[in-house]
Amino acid sequence: MTLFSIAKKNMKMNFRHYFLYFASMIFSIVIYFTFVSLKYDQTIQATSDGSTKISSAFSGAAVVLIIFVAIFIWYSNSFFTRKRKKEVGLYSLLGVRKKQIGQMLFYENLIMGLLALIIGIAIGSVLSKLFVALLMKLMGYEVVGNFSISIAAIINTVIVFSLITLIASFQGYRLIYRFKLIELFQAEKEGEKESSASFLIALLSIILIGSGYWIALQNLMDSKVWRTLGLMVTPMVILVTVVLGTYFLFSTLTVYLLKLSRKNKKSYWKGINIIGTSQLLYRMKGNARTLTVIAVLSATTLTAVCTAYSMYYNNRTNAEKFNPNSFMFIDTNNHVSQKVQSIVNKSKNHQVIYHETIPTLEMKADITGFKNEFYGNELMYTVISNHDFNKLAKEQKHNENLTLKGNEAVVLDATYMDSISPAYVGSAISFKTNKKVQHITVTDFKKYSVFNLYTAQNSIVISDELFARLQSEIKPLNIEAYKITDDDDAKQLSKDIQAIVPEKANLSSFYANYATGLESSGLMIFMGGFLGLVFLAATGSIIYFKQLTEAGADKDRYEILHKIGVKKKEIRKSIAKQILFIFVLPLLAGITHCAVALTALSNLMQTNLVVPVVICMGIYTIAYIVYYFLTVHSYYKIVIKTK
């Protein structure tokens, strides 16, 4: 019997044990292969016109994936080898040479790695087709059917995973040399010291997290902390305080609270509580590091996915905000304008909701009155009359009716941001005409514009009488504005108009803006979702593996309990409670960290992220719940199936 055949036999007989490791390897390979084949996929490459943005995004994400997958495989491998310590010890005791055992383990790993590679690539080929379709849909492209398996992707995957398998196999080989025979036989170390918890460190954990949060939520512009530490150092400080705080939270504060709860004999000495609490206390310290890693990973994943998703989600809102009109351009040539009108009218798929020709004035303004360093001293303004503004605002469903008099003016600023944009109300600015300087007073501002941002960057509304007076001095420019139905689907129309309108007309189209946003945010959400899925699966599996290891060690305890008359139902309940604790802690910490990070982000970006974030967190939580029930079930089975 050769070592190779022993290795093969081992795997056949121990399939259940191998299965977990095997499954996690296949999972990693499927994910990686799918990702790489997307990168090499011709459909995607062709549609995105070899855009460097997409290919570099894919490469970056691929690196993150490799690192993660390597860590994940390493973790499940070490979980798996630990399980087989005794078996290895037995071989050694029977007089098999260390070198031979090592070779055997090496072969086992190798066979498994190769099998996983084949199966993974097979599953991956099917899945990647699905993912291409999904990605195309998210990015707003029409799906092209001819997807083929890319040879380059297969080669890439084979190389990466052969390397990882090889390293894992060597680790298996080294296992036998790392341990002494006596260690291989020693049972789980008994009498680990109970976790100690000092009040000071427990308090410190709260202070650390609290101060991290506090700094993160400071206003970037006027915070002393940000100013003194700088934009590069402060995020690092936040990261370190929060991560450290989370670790102490898990290692000390929870232990401290559990110990406090133990003092309440009425609840502690009631039913199976005594078991659950003492078990948790006993385990908490060993779990603290894993839980911290999982909490931080969850927070990162959630933040990234939520950000990507909210960009995708807000794409329409933003496109609408910056393009209130479906098309808008400056009337540079009467002939062109007429042509555009006939194209729009002839379009079968779209009805015209309104078409306006608005007279405007392009004027340079002295804006020293704003006293704002970001804006400088001079700015070109597109000036519109009170009357025309009211008309457009009504058509764009803004509930607004201005009645400006004399030198009063209202600024329209769709990109307004608190504390960055000037304090408009009450400030005085002036327009220079050929002959004189016209002073005006800003009485109000709106956080939207009636013009598309690209065509008219800065707009201001003035009274009709002032407009009439200025109009006599400067030649007005007419702006053409269209609103049509189904403007998010106006690819052809948008293209046709673009073809005839000259560059200097500053054509802006809702569709073009919307489609570009969809493309980049669709890609981001895809990457974010993809990586998020991997992280989620990995963190879930890590808790799962860890709990199952502990189940093995706890088996005897539950057997004793069963003997002295604890019902299986009660045991199940207690296990469910303990595992819930382990699952909820990192999830809660992760969600809270993420919520704070996103609050800071949405303050910065001035967008409302609530709906997309709640959806993301909901999905994440549901996936965690699934893992939870899976873990409880497996744990219970291990612990109860003693006879």
């Binding site: 008994e190 009498g191 109970e194 004999k265 009425k266 000495w269 009631k270 039913g271 199976i272 509580n273 005594i274 078991i275 003492s278 078990q279 206390l281 006993y282 305890r557 004793i560 309990l561 069963h562 003997k563 002295i564 008359g565 604890v566 019902k567 299986k568 139902k569 009660e570």
Partner: protein, 255 residues
Amino acid sequence: MKTILQAKNVEKVFGAKGNAFTALKNITLEIKEGEFVGVMGPSGAGKSTLLNIFSTIDAASSGEINIDGKNIVTMKEEQLSDFRRDKLGFIFQDYNLLDTLTVRENILLPLALSNVPVKEIETRVEKIADTFGIREILDKYPYHISGGQKQRAAASRAIVTNPSLILADEPTGALDSKSATSLLESLSALNENNKSTIMMVTHDAFAASFCKRIVFIKDGQLYKELHKEGQTRKVFFQEVLDVLASLGGGHNDTI
């Protein structure tokens, strides 16, 4: 006197047809309240199987078993758990203390499981700790105390609920002779003073000599019974040794 345990024609067969092994055959046994019964026999005779069946951890293949007037054969899993908790106390060879709990918590565990009020738990634990002389180690963890102390803690846990029947499986198996003697004396005193009913499986003649009655099992069947009835422990011990010698294959652990 009340009958605590009544077993009639108990049989236990392991394995399926064709490959069956009969571990217990036609065992009929009665234990009255306040008895201290020892079960002896060579390895593989079926002592532990019998104890497991009486402890409701294992089920008999056929026969009738009543403990404290309740028929345990017809009970369901859940009922059996309750029954074990309320009516039986266990002492195992390897102590079976939970290492995540202090000695005090280990002892009060059965009480906590039955939702006994905190005040009563406290007084009962103190009392029992005094009986076994382990008051000063109550707040230590099992890995900080000696084997003898562990076994006394385990015994405390077994009787803290005032069970109808205490089942002990080789309780002195892992103890040195001094600790063993002290434990056996405690059990003996418990039996004398509290009228506790104890059934103890042992292969050690010295341990068995503390019992009032000894049942010998051979090849799954009752072989012989000895009664102490006023003899000194030393004489009884000699008698046990004689029976063991006639059984053959038995251990002769001397003092």
